[in-house]
């Protein structure tokens, strides 16, 4: 029984090491960032998973096995999230994936030209939206003043601060 487990452990560790090295070779050989990301993802899921499985067989039912399972679960989830964030950041930054054209040659292609709806999702919202929101916030008091001048809700706005100030003063006094 021990020899069978050792044999399985050998196979898992060697297989995991194989996939891990293949991922690293792909990281160096692939033509652009997105294909490199693909190569690394394979090695980080299958390679790491197999190597952890090989160690798991050697650990048996112990606390060490629980730690190994925690490591592999964390790595499987965070690896996917990090790769997704990396691909999205690369697309935002203007990296163009290499795609084969009609003749089979690799051409850097803007993905938005192929999938127009992608442009909506990739449209960088952050800077433009924040710049647009700030005038709205500063403009809100002006709207309230114009409303007050027109007589809408002027009494309520004046009444509420007066009602609150004595309460807060009483609390501070106490």
């Amino acid at each position: 029984m021990g020899q069978v487990i050792d044999l399985l452990s050998w196979a898992a560790l060697l297989g995991g090491g194989f996939f891990y090295v293949v991922g690293a070779i792909g990281l160096n050989r692939m033509p652009d960032i997105f294909t490199r990301m693909h190569a690394v993802s394979v090695s980080e899921t299958l390679g790491v998973g197999l190597m952890i499985f090989g160690m798991l067989l050697q650990a048996g039912f112990t606390l060490v096995a629980v730690k190994l399972i925690i490591i592999v679960l964390v790595m499987w989830t965070t690896g996917a999230v990090a790769t997704h964030a990396l691909a999205r950041a690369a697309l935002h930054d203007g990296e163009k994936p290499l795609l084969a054209d009609a003749t089979g040659a690799l051409v850097a292609t803007d993905p938005v030209s192929l999938f127009p709806e992608l442009g909506v999702r990739l449209a960088t919202p952050l800077k433009s939206e924040i710049v647009e929101e700030e005038p709205v916030e500063s403009g809100a008091p002006e709207d309230a003043e114009t409303l007050a001048e027109a007589g809408y809700g002027a009494e309520e706005e004046d009444a509420n601060p007066d009602a609150e100030r004595p309460d807060s003063a009483d609390k501070e006094g106490q």
């Binding site: 560790l13 190597m51 790595m75």
Partner: protein, 95 residues
Amino acid sequence: MMFAAAIIAVLIALTLAVARALAGPTAFDRLLAANKIGVSAIMLLALFGFMTGRPEFLDIGITYALLNMIGTLAVLKFFRYGALGHAQDLDRDPG
């Protein structure tokens, strides 16, 4: 012995990842290689602990696994905004 074989494989992969981190044309290539180096460090910790019969190194491995993603996301955010979360800095041009 089996752990030594896996350690050699991880070391080879680590060397290749360092080569890509040094050569990578864009920051994202370097970041991807850095991510791979971090995973290699975790695997080296675990495998070396098993090889020497001291699997207590796995605790450090868990910490590295958690820090790896946070580091990647932090560097990505830094490259995009030039800051790590001050709202007044978000108005600046990204990148």
